[in-house]
């Protein structure tokens, strides 16, 4: 039966307020007597703080107080959840103490009555630094000659981690050939359009601190900030209003969140800090930042026997929430869509004088996909095989699912051949191969890139997560029959106010407009985990589904009582409870809800009210997959690359709202395009961030983006009753290798086998200046 809401391209319920300029982001919240905070941040990559002179600044108009690291000694260290063996965890103060270790590290916080006054006074603070040599390159930083940037440790190696499965030695012994390649995944800057922002207000009477923050994880942040401030958790309320994009950069606990709380409590005044774009570049987490050597053991027929990957992970100066954990996801997903019996990954996590790297859309999985998908093309080139055939040769078959990888994962469901086949057709693979052949004869350099990816999503089963991997939902039917859903997920653009309402409305047989979805306020919503790792629908949506099921079960008991029928003779359909033998005899959901609340005629032991709460713990991750195809033309005169075609076939399991899924994939692919062609966070040898503004760091504009042709296959996940898998990161994980493979393929006549991102015209031009073969 066609469903009314689930699977339909329903327009988003959150949009009218957003297109009208009536939504409330953190900066839109006004409080009486609100004060403003402006930071003095380190201008050095590495330096001793000799002296801080606040004398001039503190006399400036409107200045209320100036805080330094010394004033915040009782605020705890910024937390990390990476629970790796032998992990070195340096103290991470909310304001620097004695030393600064990256450009942008907060040193002084100035509080004034207005934003302009706070910024003026921050400019008048004098910090006397003694610059120290900066450690910038992660490979050099890991060497014993490199001076440790944290005095409490003997070197800059934060941890080493190895993942190994299958007989790697034997695989390399059995190989006909071994291919080796160094690959770099450059540092990226997430650039959510809304920078971070925090407001804190303390009511001493109620002993209640409220923090408004642009975060993806209100509940986890509340727990951590309460610990940092030594505050009982139930005295801290975290409110996450509208959030203008996150991409992982707000999946964190930042020093500023606790510091603003500390300041509000010290001053007894509400305080606000809105990050400037420059602060966002320097002091909000970065992504990627891996360099490593891959070795691939193959047979002459294209079969991959084993892979090893040894990397240095550029962690930055301090751990943020998940900093050390990100490269481990790369290890888990290294097999990609292939049956590779032997795998080994060695990570050396290294401290450098830079901002911390952490989860940026994809978080460790784009790196894995890039490595394995570039590797598949290296195999094809080495053996002079069609890259499609190399992939087909190594796919697990549909019947092999659930498929166990050498890295210990169980891929829930998949049909890689089906998505590849569809992508080849949508992308007109054969036609473009012919065009390429013709073009090369005329000095026209076309390239075709393919990527078949699988991602680990719906994070995740709690045993595999640092702080719980379940999600919660409460569903209430109010006395008037209106439905309220409280979700522990914390959407920030994904549209779950709509998709969760679709689930509830479908199951309850009510109109979508009768459902409201509330999230992001710890005083209203039961504990939740948050929105990240393509998890909200698969885990949080399932919690809504289960809560509604429980609710219907409860209401059926009352309906049977009111209809004077045995429980097993009552059916629920289209928002009504029916007698299964006499459909004339019925009660609406609203009638039952009202009866449940006024509670005058209830069955024995029936609890009044009508609400249900469910905490859903998934048994496994989900593994969405797909195939992308990209056709490019590289211009030998200018080194510029034009994308002639982009076709993507993604399989994210069952789809709640196709329109929203499309939007997620578009956005993800374009962020990939940014990484492939434009974006790179560059620090110079002194640890200066050279790409510190939008003038120096290019993110894709509308003109840079080709038309994206999308299609889907639909392989339901057995992990949850909705059959959904997650889609938030698919584009970012699947697209990068398709883009890069296409460019490498275009440059094949010039003997090119690999190019590191970003593929800027200068790089391409240089590679095309040789004689073509």
């Amino acid at each position: 039966m066609a469903q009314r809401y689930i699977g339909q391209s329903v327009k988003r319920t959150e949009d009218p307020r957003l297109v009208s300029g009536l939504a409330h982001y953190v900066d839109d919240i006004k409080l009486p007597d609100l004060h403003y905070v402006s930071f003095v941040r380190s201008i050095h990559g590495h330096a001793k703080i000799r002296r801080i002179d606040n004398s001039a600044a503190s006399k400036m108009p409107g200045v209320v107080r100036i805080f330094t690291g010394e004033d915040c000694r009782n605020v705890g260290s910024v937390p990390t959840a990476g629970a790796l063996e032998n992990l070195k965890v340096p103290h991470h103060p909310v304001l620097a103490l004695n030393k600064v270790r990256y450009v942008g590290e907060p040193v002084v916080a100035v509080v004034a009555q207005s934003l302009y006054q706070a910024r003026d006074a921050a400019d008048a603070v004098v910090v006397d630094y003694e610059p120290l040599a900066a450690v910038v390159d992660p490979i050099k930083a890991a060497s014993p000659e490199s001076k440790p940037i944290h005095d409490e440790f003997s070197d800059n190696i934060a941890y080493t981690w190895t993942l190994s499965g299958g007989d790697v030695k034997q695989a390399f012994k059995d190989a006909d050939r071994i291919i080796k390649q160094r690959m770099e995944h450059q540092r990226l800057i997430p650039v959510a359009m809304e920078p971070r922002g925090v407001i804190a207000r303390y009511f001493p009477g109620e002993k209640e601190l409220t923090i408004w923050s642009s975060t993806q994880i209100p509940h986890l942040m509340r727990t951590q900030v309460a610990i940092m401030l030594g505050l009982p958790e139930n005295r801290l309320r975290v409110v996450t209003p509208e959030v203008g994009g996150g991409f992982g950069s707000k999946l964190n606990v930042y020093g500023e969140e606790a510091l603003l709380g500390h300041i509000a409590m010290q001053l007894g005044k509400p305080v606000k800090w809105i990050e400037t774009r420059s602060e966002n570049f320097a002091a909000t987490i970065h992504g990627r930042g891996q360099v490593g050597d891959v070795e691939i053991a193959i047979k002459n027929d294209g079969q991959i026997l084993g892979i090893t990957y040894k990397i240095w992970a550029d962690l930055g100066a301090y751990h943020q929430l998940l900093t050390p954990a990100i490269p481990t996801l790369t290890g888990l997903m290294l097999p990609g869509t292939y049956r590779i019996p032997a795998i080994r990954m060695d990570v050396t996590g290294v401290f450098t004088n830079k901002m911390a790297t952490d989860a940026y859309r994809g978080a460790g999985r784009p790196e894995a996909t890039h490595v394995i998908e570039r590797a598949a093309d290296l195999v094809a080139q080495e053996l002079n095989m069609d890259p499609v055939e190399v992939r087909r040769k190594n796919f697990p078959a549909k019947k092999d699912f659930p498929y166990s990888t050498a890295t210990g994962l169980s891929y829930d469901s998949g049909n890689y051949e089906a998505s590849l086949k569809k992508a080849l057709k949508l992308g007109e693979y054969k036609k473009w191969r012919r065009e390429q052949e013709k073009g090369r004869k005329k000095g026209r350099y076309l390239g075709i890139g393919i990527s078949t990816y699988v991602e680990i999503c719906a994070m995740g089963p709690s045993p595999a997560m640092p702080a719980g991997g379940w999600e919660s939902a409460t569903v209430r039917i109010e006395p008037t029959g209106k439905v309220t859903v409280l979700t522990g997920a914390s959407p920030h653009g994904q549209g779950q106010e709509t998709s969760f309402a679709q689930i509830a409305a479908e199951m309850l047989g009510v109109d979508l407009d009768d459902v409201i979805v509330i999230h992001g306020d710890t005083a209203i919503v039961q504990y939740g985990i948050g929105t990240f790792g393509s998890r909200a629908t698969a885990v949080g949506g399932t919690a809504v589904y289960r809560a509604v099921q429980q609710l219907i079960k409860k209401a059926s008991v009352l309906a049977a009582h009111l209809l004077k029928l045995p429980k097993n003779q009552v059916a629920f359909r289209d928002g009504k409870f029916y007698s299964s033998s006499n459909p004339e005899k019925s009660l609406t959901l609203q009638e039952v809800a009202l009866a449940s609340h006024i509670a005058k005629n209830l069955p024995k032991n029936y609890e009044p009210g009508l609400s249900a709460t469910y905490f859903f713990e998934p048994k496994n991750f989900t593994f969405p997959f797909g195939a992308h195809l990209c056709v490019v033309e590289a211009d030998r005169e200018t080194g510029s690359v034009k994308i002639l075609k982009y076709a993507a076939v993604d399989d994210c399991g069952k789809v709640i709202n196709p329109l929203l899924v499309e939007g997620q994939i578009h956005g993800g692919i374009v962020q990939s395009l940014g990484q492939a062609f434009m974006e790179e966070a560059v620090y110079d040898e002194n640890g200066q961030l050279i790409t510190g503004t939008l003038m120096d760091y290019a993110i894709p504009r509308a003109m840079d983006v080709p038309w994206l042709e999308l299609d889907r296959t639909e392989t339901p996940s057995p992990v949850n009753p909705l059959g959904v898998k997650g889609v938030g990161e698919a584009g970012t994980i699947g697209a990068t290798p398709a883009l890069v493979n296409a460019v490498v393929d275009a440059l094949r006549p010039f003997g090119v086998k690999h190019i590191d991102m970003p593929l800027r015209p200068e790089k391409i031009w240089r590679l095309m200046q040789k004689e073509a073969q």
Partner: protein
């Protein structure tokens, strides 16, 4: 400095610092928070408003530069509880996700469709080049502007009604 300007048809008079940015005047003095600040350097376009009917980035204009002029912000586009065709199209085509760039993007699209009633996709992409979006990948935004153009072109009478007094003056 004493300034007087019209914002969404309403007169605002204030004594402001000469350095006060127009966007801060709109957000703090006029309490119109639909205009967002994304970079303070006129790169991202989140703060785009209409000044005498022309799209401008209000983070790099001073409030005093708007003295005796007319400013239109996103809050003024919907009339009598009915969304402007561009707003409606952004909604229908899923032209937004987090919504932060959206008001600026819509104001830029407004000017674009004033200048060119039937733009090609390429002209749309060029027209919104000064506005960054990190969520959508732009495709649904292009579709939304294309669809708004078609509707506004097909129903010129309705469009006339929807036009702001400021833009009529252009």
């Amino acid at each position: 400095m004493q300034i007087s300007l019209s914002i969404n048809g309403k007169r605002h008079q204030a004594d402001v610092e000469p350095r006060l940015l127009l966007v801060h005047f709109l957000r703090e003095n006029a309490q119109l928070t639909g205009t967002h600040i994304g970079c303070e350097t006129s790169v991202c376009g989140a703060c785009t408003v209409l000044l005498d009917g022309k799209a401008v980035k209000s983070c790099t204009l001073l409030a005093v530069q708007a003295n005796n002029r007319e400013v239109t912000t996103i809050e003024a586009l919907a009339k009598d509880g009915k969304l402007h065709p561009i707003q409606q199209a952004f909604w229908e085509e899923h032209g937004l996700q987090c919504g932060y760039c959206t008001p600026g993007m819509i104001m830029t699209a407004h000017q674009l469709l004033q200048d060119n009633t039937q733009p090609t996709d390429e002209e749309i992409r060029r027209g919104i080049e000064g506005n960054l979006c990190r969520c959508t990948g732009y495709q649904h935004i292009v579709k939304a502007i294309r669809s708004a153009a078609a509707k506004m072109h097909a129903a010129p009478a309705a469009v006339k009604e929807d036009k702001q007094p400021e833009t009529v003056a252009r």
